[in-house]
């Protein structure tokens, strides 16, 4: 029953993301689709957050370091009640609070303004460090892109967290194996990714990033080891849910044409107006 509920939420999230980006005339559809189940499980099962109290000092923190998946974040924040569902329709219009990348100063529930890749982890670590300093027991979750792991700043952070025994920190990597121009392994491959993070001192688990049960089980188990930060390598599919987008690099930042729109709406069970 729980899983079905989550899967329904995930399906709705996909529909919302697709509609908002298409109506807003621009966005990173495929990179949003790969993190749908991750966000669904986080916000509906894991994060101790209260939409009525977005600044509550003991809240869990979530940072979408791959900020270009902003619409996915807006969609889940709307589902959870941090913003109104109605506001999603303003995406892409003048004066909107919903930019192409998330704005901490404008939106409740957005813990960091991201968009420049490689920044979110250090920022999240600062939150974790502050938490340890103050004896608070909130947990900080940071969602990284895999292409993002090409940034050196990610590895500076990767060295820092184990040093400071940040077991109140969990990183999730959206390992969809694609970046803007091509597959990662054709550009700067990350393998062996699990080995890398383990050798840096992180406790690592791999999951199917689209299996809500697996995600919930794994995310509920953090920290995986005392005194160590946790890392989840989520194997995902870029463009998941839309057959012609799945694993196809060109869909990094691209809008469907009319023909493609029809197919996508059918697959996502969206009624075409």
């Amino acid at each position: 029953m729980r899983n079905e509920e989550l899967q329904n939420k995930a399906r709705q999230l996909r529909q919302t993301i697709f509609k908002v980006i298409c109506e807003g005339q621009g966005g990173h559809i495929a990179g949003c689709m790969s993190v749908v189940e991750i966000l669904t499980v986080l916000y509906h099962r894991i994060l101790r957050v209260d939409p009525k109290n977005p600044e509550e000092p003991n809240r869990d923190r979530f940072i979408l370091s791959k900020g270009h998946a902003s619409v996915a974040w807006y969609a889940i924040l709307a589902q959870k009640g941090f913003i109104d569902e109605d506001e999603l329709a303003t995406y892409g219009q003048g004066g909107t609070r919903l930019g192409g990348h998330p704005d901490k100063l404008k939106l409740p529930g957005v813990e960091a303004s991201t968009g420049a890749l490689g920044h979110g982890l250090a920022f999240g670590m600062g939150m974790a460090v502050a938490g340890k300093m103050d004896g608070k027991n909130y947990h900080t979750y940071v969602l990284l892109g895999d292409g993002e792991c090409q940034e050196g700043s990610v590895w500076e952070a990767a060295m820092f967290a184990p040093q400071h025994k940040l077991d109140n920190l969990t990183v999730i990597i959206d390992y969809n194996k694609l970046q803007a121009l091509d597959r990662l392994d054709k550009i700067v491959g990350l393998e062996p990714l699990v080995d890398k993070w383990e050798s840096f001192g992180w406790e690592v688990c791999e999951v199917n990033g689209h299996d809500v049960a697996e995600l919930e089980e794994t995310l509920s188990a953090v920290p995986f080891a005392a005194n160590k930060p946790s890392l989840i390598v989520a194997h995902t599919v870029k463009g998941k849910g839309i057959s012609f987008m799945e694993n196809v690099p060109i869909w990094h930042y691209r809008l469907p044409n009319d023909e493609e729109m029809k197919i996508a709406c059918e697959q996502l069970q969206i009624e075409l107006k």
Binding site: P57, H119, A122, M125, A130, S153, M159
Partner: protein
């Protein structure tokens, strides 16, 4: 100047539990007392400036007041994007402390010369820049930085900075200081080059040219009033900095004069003219080698004054 800063930081940390100190693997010995007293509030982030800034920003997001301390170049350049996006864009209350400005690290070469930091930090929205001239001013600046809300860049020389002010000096944020009154030409300057400027002014005075010396310790937001008043009064303004002339103090002063001043002013920037500081040696030698000794300043000021006389 550096020890004065650490002393102030120590006292501030005693008063405010939110203050934490992050360093980029520097400050050996000088932070020993601090670390003994506040071990849990001191983090050596290692040689990873971008990470240090990101962490500081995240800590500020949780209510801390982080002071991040390392060599000016590595702070402002390696971590520039972090300063821009993690701190300024999100208005995080982080205090950036860069040491070794100008070429005070005179034997270490240009990699360690803080000669573009003003230009870089000036371009960032929401960034306050304080550039103290001596240890007393550095302490006042540190207290001011701690008590204001928002990002601050505090640029410091190092140890062995000569005193300009007496013990009774009261630091006033945002207000330029007239160190010496005069009517023939103004020299506006900042930071550790000020002793050279003062020497030059004294020499010029002996030669019959009266010089107004203005110390701009707050580069951003800059004291436009004192700049315009000086321009109005003397009609000849020389801006001197141990920094590139592109985008630094001189540029800031020129912007104010050109946008605010109606009558003809002779204006000149003096600093590093689009080159890195050349050579290795003692700090005094470096100033002479790079055209920023007091004799050079005298020459420039005199020539500016003579140009002004021709205009009048």
């Amino acid at each position: 100047m550096r020890n004065a800063f650490v002393e102030a930081l120590y006292d501030i940390s005693g008063k405010d539990q939110r203050v934490v100190t992050l360093v980029g693997d520097n400050g050996a010995i000088v932070f020993d007392r601090y670390r003994e007293s506040y071990p849990e509030r001191f983090i050596n982030c290692g040689i990873a400036e971008a990470n240090m800034i990101g962490v500081a920003a995240g800590m500020a997001a949780c209510g801390k007041i982080p002071f991040t301390y390392t060599i000016a170049n590595f702070l402002t350049q390696r971590a520039f994007e972090q300063i821009r996006n993690d701190i300024c864009l999100q208005k995080m209350n982080v205090k950036l402390v860069g040491i070794g400005v100008g070429f005070v690290y005179s034997d270490l070469g240009p990699t360690h010369h803080g000669t573009e930091d003003i230009a870089l930090m000036r371009a960032l929205p929401g960034m306050t820049i304080i550039s103290p001239a001596d240890p007393v001013e550095a302490q006042g600046a540190t207290w001011a930085a701690a008590s204001m809300e928002g990002p601050v860049y505090l640029r410091l020389a190092t140890s062995r900075t000569p005193r300009i002010y007496g013990d009774d000096y009261e630091f006033e944020f945002g207000r330029g200081v007239v160190l010496r009154e005069g009517g023939d030409v103004t020299i506006i300057s900042t930071g550790n080059i000020l002793p050279e400027v003062i020497k030059a002014a004294e020499q010029l005075e002996r030669g019959g040219i009266s010089v107004r010396v203005v110390n701009i310790h707050t580069i951003k937001p800059i004291d436009e009033e004192i700049i315009l008043e000086s321009a109005q009064k003397t009609r000849a303004v020389l801006a001197v900095e141990e920094h590139t002339i592109s985008g630094g103090l001189g540029s800031a002063v020129a912007e104010v004069i050109l946008e605010g001043q109606n009558e003809a002013i002779q204006f000149q920037r003096m600093g590093l003219p689009g080159v890195f500081a050349n050579g290795y040696g003692a700090y005094d030698e470096m100033k002479d080698m790079n055209g920023l000794g007091w004799q050079d300043i005298c020459r420039q000021a005199k020539s500016l004054y003579e140009k002004k006389l021709q205009l009048v």
